[in-house]
């Protein structure tokens, strides 16, 4: 008996010893001790699907990364929060020559970077050239542009062709300006060797080199990014001094969190989901997004090569039903240019469903017995709307007019790969623009990148290409809108892209958040959100 007791005591001692050792070894500590109630209140939790692979402004291309970079970095210009009006941020003023080939930006004085340096034109030049030469996803934005400096305060961006869209483009967070000296010290390069030798990309996830309101406090890929008020911020302190952008892929969890105090902001809920929320627990702002979900009918083979068949599809869709599924605030698309963007076809000028005409067109095509395969990303959603839902509705609509439709849903990247390789017959996608300007949608024009994947070449419709070339260089806003609208109509005539529906983005917040706002691109500026005391 004594022996057992001793053994037991020994075992217990060992166990306790081991745990103490483990805990001691962990060496964890907490910065600033415990948190007070006030501090917790000033924290904004933003539930968002984190897709980011980097925070380097020269390489980011997804919503989550640009959301974070918008808070840390500033560019020359930006939208006034909640509007589509462009205002200077780092630029104090700017001048454009008459043919829109030269933009001169005069920088504000005495702006400092968090990492120590003071803003000069050299920083802007470095950042923009690095964007061009590092050959990352957004490098194309710099195509045809030359950046030079004129003294410490003036940056000149020039081009051969007129670039009326330049200001709208500079809003994009890819044009964020950062401390060039600090980045050079980390191995950053802006000349042609950047593509292979730049080693600064990863430091952007370690600290911040910007001039923005917030600083990067913590970065955990796939989990969360924590932003805190920067000591360096020159303006008024925002109500929310800490912003946590937290990975959340589950729509259901986001709805539950926002109503039950688990989070403060989400932009991923669709209108029908928002309609289910308890109004007494949330604030909602709904706004059109500059993207349209369209059904692309390609030249890759099968019935979609036939114009009558495409017409039958266009006339066969139950647009009202599709809009109804998308819920409050949704609209039928009018063309590949979303209605919120300049140059779009007006909202009421849409294709209407005509079952008889669709059946007639189908018969005329002689392809009624062929199978239509629609590819889509089964895990892709826009404005909280599942692509699968629309695809199933479209299938049912088209079967009603006598077509045989098969849905080919696959994980987004699988679908995208097939699309890229030009193997897709019909595809259901939105096209989220990198910045809000009609020029972004020329990618759909014959010979454009997306059209090329659908085997739609310039030779097929040279007249449409001519319209596109013309629209690109018109400078006067009114004439520009007219030129783009003419192009959009010509594209619509071909029924190669059938605009289905535009879904709104719903900014949903907890009750303690006020002054909800989204700019025309759908970005929320954290620093303008207010803390409301219930």
């Amino acid at each position: 008996m004594a022996k057992t007791a001793i053994r037991r005591i020994a075992a217990a001692t060992l166990a306790i010893g081991a745990s103490v050792a483990l805990v001691a070894c962990s060496g964890a500590s907490v910065e600033g001790g415990g948190n007070t109630g006030d501090e917790a209140n000033a924290t904004l939790i933003f539930d968002l699907g984190l897709e980011m692979t980097t925070l380097d402004p020269a390489q980011i291309f997804d919503v989550s990364a640009s959301t974070v970079d918008q808070a840390i970095y500033e560019g020359l210009v930006n939208y006034k929060p909640g509007t589509d009006e462009i205002q200077g941020v780092l630029a104090d003023s700017w001048e454009v020559n008459d043919d829109a080939t030269e933009y001169r930006f005069t920088l504000k004085n005495d702006i400092t970077f968090e990492s120590g340096g003071t803003l000069t034109s050299a920083d802007v030049e470095f950042a923009f050239n690095r964007l061009k030469n590092i050959q990352g996803p957004p490098a194309y934005l710099m195509d045809g542009l030359t950046v030079t400096t004129d003294g410490d305060d003036v940056v000149v961006i020039s081009s051969e062709q007129p670039r009326p869209e330049l200001l709208a483009m500079l809003v994009s967070s890819n044009f964020a300006v950062y401390d060039s000296e600090a980045i050079i010290a980390e191995g950053g390069l802006s000349d042609e060797s950047a593509a292979t030798d730049d080693t600064a990309g990863s430091v952007f996830t370690e600290s911040s080199f910007g001039t923005g309101v917030y600083t990067l406090e913590d970065y955990e890929p796939n989990a969360e990014v924590t932003l805190a008020l920067s000591d360096n911020w020159r303006g008024d302190a925002p109500d929310f001094t800490t912003v946590i952008v937290r990975d959340s892929r589950s729509i259901q969890q986001q709805s539950l969190n926002i109503q039950n105090g688990g989070s403060d902001v989400t932009i991923s809920l669709s209108s029908p989901q928002v309609a289910e929320l308890d109004e007494s627990k949330v604030n909602v702002l709904s706004q059109a997004l500059p993207q349209v979900i369209y059904l692309q009918l390609t030249n890759s083979g099968g019935p979609t090569t036939n114009a009558d068949y495409r017409k039958a599809v266009a006339l066969g869709l139950d647009y009202d039903g599709l809009v109804e599924i998308a819920g409050a605030g949704a609209l039928q698309g009018t063309s590949v240019i979303p209605t919120a963007v300049l140059g779009s076809i007006p909202e009421d000028d849409v294709i209407a469903r005509d079952v008889d005409a669709a059946k007639a067109a189908l018969e005329a095509s002689g392809m009624a017995d062929q199978e239509l395969v629609i590819s889509f990303g089964s895990d892709y959603s826009v404005g909280g709307q599942d692509m699968g839902l629309f695809a199933q509705k479209i299938q049912s609509d088209l079967e009603e007019i006598g077509m045989t439709v098969t849905l080919d849903g696959a994980p987004t990247q699988v679908s995208r790969t097939a699309n890229q390789e030009g193997k897709v017959q019909a595809a259901l996608w939105p096209f989220p623009p990198d910045f809000v300007d009609p020029s972004q949608f020329l990618i759909h024009s014959p010979g454009g990148l997306l059209a090329e994947r659908a085997h739609w070449a310039v030779e097929d419709n040279p007249e449409i290409d001519a319209l596109a070339q013309k629209a690109m260089i018109v400078i006067d806003p009114e004439e520009r809108a007219a030129a783009y609208e003419e192009w959009a109509r010509a594209v619509r005539e071909t029924n190669r892209y059938i605009s289905v529906v535009e879904v709104p983005q719903n900014l949903v917040t907890s009750k303690r958040v006020g002054n909800l706002n989204m700019d025309v691109a759908g970005n929320v500026s954290f620093e303008t959100l207010t803390l409301e005391q219930p």
């Binding site: 709805s255 089964s378 599942d386 199933q392 849905l407 994980p411 699988v414």
Partner: protein, 308 residues
């Protein structure tokens, strides 16, 4: 799932043919009596029976076509729509009913294929032994070490997301358990007198496997397979839930849950397919348990002791 390997019988005199037939009949009667004495087994059997009827008469039972969009989205359960309707206005009850044809049928296919492949490999491995046995069993170890869902997800992602490929993925992760079990049984029986004597009597190894071994290992393998159907249903549903299994508009239960979770107030979309999965998996587990109790000698002993 069963860990204890069945031990080979120790008595091995070869009974005469007539004697054998008589024994078979009395054994069958015995089994029927035993079933009646095990209420849980009977419950499992009835649930499976009900689902079988649903599968066969799905078209008659379901009031609507599973993909018909009826124009009333997200309506809660009512007399007209027993399980409510989903976001596209489809009748959830009809979808659950038709879903049985996918979830249940594909699970049974999965398990059957895995069982056949595993049994063949296990028999070869156990009967021939030696180097071949060594290689095959290391292969089995290899598949055992793989995390099931991750491997299945990788297979399904590699082959393309569809319910057929999900089944293939399921087979790839499920066959090793049968191979290992069957090999264990065969090794146990290989040197048993009744096998040795028939081989001495000039029976070839192929015939010997068929005549002597197959009947002896069929029981335990079927028990394992029955229990495995439940697991297979869960696996297929999980893959659909992760987006690498059945694709819309297929009324697969896992895919329905995954669609339903985005409408949390419309609880009926996700809850009913979930309950369907639970009842089916439960039923097969009950069946499997019952069968195991019948076949497992240890359990038999404890039952006998109890009745003594």
């Amino acid at each position: 799932m069963s860990i204890e390997n069945a031990t080979p019988p120790t008595t091995t005199s070869i009974p005469a043919a007539a004697e054998r037939r008589r024994m078979k009949i009395s054994a069958t009667l015995h089994v029927v009596k035993r079933i009646l004495r095990m209420p849980l087994f009977a419950v499992g059997l009835s649930i499976v029976g009900v689902w079988l009827i649903v599968i066969i008469f799905a078209g008659q039972i379901a009031p609507f076509s599973p993909n018909a969009q009826l124009g009333i989205a997200l309506s809660p359960p009512s007399w007209e729509h027993l399980f409510g309707t989903d976001a596209l206005g489809r009748d959830v009850f009809s979808r659950v009913v038709h879903g049985s044809r996918i979830s249940l049928v594909y699970s049974v296919i999965l398990v059957t294929a895995a069982m056949l492949i595993g049994t063949v490999i296990g028999m070869i491995s156990g009967f021939f032994g030696g180097r071949l046995d060594e290689i095959l069993m290391r292969l089995v170890d290899l598949f055992f070490a793989f995390p099931v869902i991750i491997l299945a997800m990788a297979v399904a992602a590699a082959l393309g997301a569809s319910v057929q490929n999900a089944v293939l993925a399921g087979i790839i992760v499920s066959w090793p358990i049968y191979a290992r079990t069957v090999r264990g049984l065969v090794v146990g029986y290989r040197d048993a007198e009744f096998v040795v004597s028939s081989r001495l009597a000039g029976m070839g190894s192929g015939r010997s496997i068929l005549v002597d071994l197959l009947p002896s290992i069929a029981g335990p393998t079927l028990v394992l397979a029955t229990q495995d159907v439940g697991a297979a249903i869960l696996l297929l549903a999980s893959l659909s839930f992760l987006g690498v299994g059945a694709q819309p508009p297929m009324p697969e239960w896992g895919a329905m849950i995954s669609e339903g979770v985005t409408y949390f107030s419309s609880w009926w979309i996700a809850v009913f397919p979930g309950l369907a999965i639970v009842t089916v998996a439960l039923a097969f587990n009950l069946l499997g348990d019952g069968l195991r109790d019948m076949f497992d000698p240890k359990m038999k002993r404890s039952i006998q002791r109890k009745t003594k």
